[in-house]
Symmetry: C2
Subunit: 337 residues, 2 copies
Amino acid sequence: MKDIARHAGVSQSAVSFALNGRPGVSEGTRDRVRQVAEELGWRPSTAARQLSGEGAATVGFVLARPADTLGVDSFFLQLVSGIQEVLAERHLGLLFQVVEDVDDECAVYRRWWAEHRVDGVLVVDPRTADPRPDLLDQLGLPAVVIGGAPDERHPGLSTVWADDAGAMASVVDELYAHGHRRIVHIAGLPGLAHTERRIRTLRAEAERRSLSEVESVTTDYSDAEGAAVTRRVLGRPAPPTALIYDNDVMAVAGVATAAELGFSVPADVSVLSWEDSALCRMVKPWLSALSRDSVEFGRTAARELTALVDGGPARTVRVPVPQVIVRDSTGAARAPA
Amino acid sequence: MKDIARHAGVSQSAVSFALNGRPGVSEGTRDRVRQVAEELGWRPSTAARQLSGEGAATVGFVLARPADTLGVDSFFLQLVSGIQEVLAERHLGLLFQVVEDVDDECAVYRRWWAEHRVDGVLVVDPRTADPRPDLLDQLGLPAVVIGGAPDERHPGLSTVWADDAGAMASVVDELYAHGHRRIVHIAGLPGLAHTERRIRTLRAEAERRSLSEVESVTTDYSDAEGAAVTRRVLGRPAPPTALIYDNDVMAVAGVATAAELGFSVPADVSVLSWEDSALCRMVKPWLSALSRDSVEFGRTAARELTALVDGGPARTVRVPVPQVIVRDSTGAARAPA
DNA sequence: GCAAGAACCTAATGCGTATTAGCAACTAAT
DNA sequence: ATTAGTTGCTAATACGCATTAGGTTCTTGC
């Protein structure tokens, strides 16, 4: 800015006024200053800006996953892609970090906030008994929880969520209508809030219909566990007629395993993936799946966070319920022999 | 720091000396200051630090991909995971951005550097006729190119690369030894440096052996194009006996397509994936694949970047050649009828 | 023709840290 | 006993920007 001032023959203050659209400088001078700034390729130093009161112009995103679990997962890249779209408009940066577990994640939040590195954070994979909302509340770090249930205990946090429970209920409705009575839900990580929500809802729906042979089994989301559980439950004397997998990776592994065991999909067993992706159309039969717009999910979350950072109120917004895309892996239950 | 100084009864300078391990303060005072800082939960403001000469303590990573291409790709998350491991040790942040194309990517580099937001960047997906190395050279922005060939035209840039050409040569060796004479390489995006390297090497190897029915076809890496190309080449009067796919997604799509067309893998046609992931073990037969350690790739790149940022010389380091993991999708060519 | 006000600009200050220069008290060497 | 050197600290300054308080000229109203 000193250089610009010199080139334009004015003071640094005038330059600041001119470039920030403040009054106190004539239009002629303003244009001249702008032009010089342009020529010099000037951009304000974020550090200096931040030091004089502005925010860090950055939001944080922490992914707490062991490196080897990071494998095939289209959800996060799409989510991030949507987040970026919104952040880019406002020239906000995204500080990204991968850590091992939630404790490390908390440590990262503490550090980021103490160092004034971020203006807010996006929190994913909310859990039951999650230490993060308390911490964020205590720190006063603006945050949007992605995928959690509405949480009235932390009025400072925004929440963006999809109605997993409603989706599960309608899935069960559908399966029941097609004659399915024995259903196994190959769930994701225990402890994740949405895993527990789905499990609870499934149990409730089963009880409502007095179905005794309906259950959920938790896994680590890996193809290996997906296959193992599939093998186990299909090996029973009265195997399930419908399998609900909490992600696409396990669903694909499950279909392969079913085929090995001589089960035909969907004639012998229906398969539904709770995550839609290219994967679902890469196996035969194509997998029916619950589809959500992850990119839009990210956009919504980012919008909420920017609103929060700008001093807006915390809100709880619901994104559309995931829709079942019926492909070739689901059908009516085989009539009992 | 003002608070710490007050609590400890010394000047701010003393606090700075004490906390940064500088001489000019007694051990007693140093300990006292440290303790007060600890109690107050003090962490230096990165903005202020940066303003007084330190770097931004951040490196940048731009992914230039349309949102819908981001789908199933394990490579990047693993790469980033490795990068993070190294950066976390030194408390460096990773500023991440997804953009549409290389031009946008260049704009991001300009802005980041002008705003002093990053100390260096990691560049992925190098291309033929890539504008980025020139730009980075011109800007003086420290950078590590990941996956490019050694580039003596830009001595300021570090390069971390795998020997694709060597890997392709050995793959052809292997296939030739097993009797394959008609080989189709379903390549990735034209314009990507490693795509072109593989294509060139394949052609050279074919010429060396006077094989006329060897070719490469470029694609957009999608399962759709992978399937389409597979369908086309297997429909020929003399279909290839070996298919090399530049990623796992296309390989899987290719196997499914081959099965549809009545080709048995590997009896009628061998399939090799140039990317290993859980996907390769999710289809039958399990796919033989070229495997590389993407996490270690990321670590290496991050290490080179930190060295560069610390003022070290630019280097060109080679990571181990990808190894062929032989599974069930490759075998001897069927003897000509 | 003079005061009041507006328009345009400059000077000065602060943000939180690192660093340099300076200063006092004490120690070692001549 | 005086000087030179060392130790342990404080004061002052810079970093790049935003902002607030001043200051000059120009215009307007009576």
